[in-house]
Amino acid sequence: MTALSDILHLLITASLWQSVLALSALLLLPALGGVISERSGVVNIAMEGMMLTGAFFAVYADLHLHNPWLAALVAMFAGGLMALIHAVVSIRFRADQIVSGIAINIFAAGLTVFLVNRVYGLQDVGHINTSESLPNIALPGLSSIPFVGQVFFDQNVIVYVALILLVLTHIVLFRTRLGLRIRAVGEHPQAADTAGVNVFRLRYGAVITSGILSGLAGAYLAIGISNTFVPNMTDGRGYIALAAMIFGKWTPFGAFVACLIFGLGEAIYYNNSIIHASPYLLSALPYLLTLIVLAGVVGRSSPPAADGIPYVAGGE
């Protein structure tokens, strides 16, 4: 029973919820990217690789430019470039999008360590540390509200950015012409094409956006949360973001709820000194939860109709 009361005690501390939100934002950015990409009809399991690329280039740029903001931009650019490869291969060359996604993830894992070795002369396990990091910003006034202030208004700058992007993605996808077109292209590209929508341009845009968001998440991980690049430091978070996207039924807010659940799990993991369960079993939980969701326990979760199907203009 002590374990249970320990957990309950942990759950009413503001610092726990502060880290829940911080960790959720890390998952939210690539999850939003996944939602945008898949809503346009391009399957994207490559957030992991795009994040990792962003993380490396954030640290690389930070060390050279001594400016975390520019470093974050470089990371977004690098993530976008990775996404461009995925876009060209799966839209222009109509390759299987899953194979392309796997290839991006393998490519990123190999390339980042290869570059660590080439640029810094370190062997495969090397850490690269930076000093300039993306700052935490305590919003004046608001952050002094008890509990709520610490949870919502004393966060890393990227957390605020992620929450703004969450609302923005929802509005764009469901309240604008652009969003309608993106969804149309993902559900029925032939019809959208006939109606004069440029299927290819929208899909390119959506995939590249997912890379930019994932790259930003990588920067947040490497120069926001930690101040270091470690090989394979994303450690499956891009895949958890994918799970969050499915969990949230391909909607931004649904994905956010899933990110909060997964973030809670991870935050408890970091506070495991007072939890007596194995942290490793807790880590398996998001994946098992996703399986349960997919098993239809909480209603069906199905992707956009044309998700994963390359579009051939005038075809079919």
Binding site: V43, D96, F107, F114, A243, Y280, L294, P303, D307
Partner: protein, 412 residues
Amino acid sequence: MGTGAVVARPRRRLPVIGRLVRGLAAPLGSVLFAFVVGGAIVFATGANPLDAYQGLLCGGVGLACAQGENSALQISNSIVYAIPLIMCGVSVALPFRAGLFNIGAEGQLLAGTMAATAVGVHFAEWPTVVLLPAVLISGAVAGALWAGIAGVLKATTGAHEVVTTIMLNYAAQWLLRYLIIGGPLQPPGEFSASAPIGSNARLPTFLPNDSAVIVFGLPATVYRVHTGLIIAIVAAAVFAVLLWRTSLGYEIRALGQSQKAARYAGVSMRRTIIVTMLIAGAFSGLAGAVQIAGVDHGMTDKYFSDTTGFDAIAVALLGLGSALGIVLAAVLFGALHSGGAVMQSDAGISSNLVLVLQALILFSIAANFLGAIVRQIPGVRGRRSAPPSGAPATALVTESATAPPDESAVST
């Protein structure tokens, strides 16, 4: 033939050699593409690609060794790496034929290592004739069950196997960490490693386990190449026979061709999906068990970063889904893995370049870059005997998120 056939150009069947060359063009072209682009990446970072590839060549096949490495040892290492790749490659290729994408070979392999280790440690005193089969079978069963979860979910709720197998991969990884870090398989005093399996649970190596015996200038014990190779070759043969000589194989291929047609032909989709995934998982689980029984003799933290099951996707694709192709592709990737280590020590270039090459091979074969380039060459277009859709890469263009790859293209 040929009389007055000016309009309809006469077309003889290509001789065997010609067809072989044509069949090998796409995979070999993909490998070539990867080496050229990979070389460019190495060059761009200020290193000499030739040094890198010399290291790969030495570590892979024992040729052109700069530091006088033992050739036989390098070849032995390459084969050791190739053994699980063959079995996992088959594990990816079989569901491919049914239109299922098994990304979960890694998780299934890990499930196999966990079960095999548990049995090999717990029943260490059993005699070899009982224990070794028990270890291998438990690995295969664990892998089958792990994949079976994805199969059942696909068959009953339609949950996409790509997503479920990804989740199962990570679940297996964390379960493995739990088991050997503070869990039941961690012996007292050890960290991040299980106890070694009993000596009766081990697959024999081909060479005598005696350091007094000198083979190719080195003690026989350094050559790790083991009898798991025979199991892997048999697995590849079983895959081919199963696919082409049994009614289940027919059902798998029918399902892969068209779900609708398969249904009309009386194929039970649900049953075939589940059985296919069970068998696929068994191959990967067996690979894990063979790895434990033949090489590692217990689980260590190196399995946390194991990528065999992911490499197997490239192996299955590069091998064009045929048994022989998979064996050849596995040998290539085994050689690349073994070569990566030598490249790192000799040329100082990270062995992770091998991952870059592997990704480039995947991009190339999936997108059929070679075909696209060939089609750009003037005059080639008209002379192609097969339309672009016959190229292997288009096999990967799925009809929908759940639809199977185009069977006819896979088999070209």
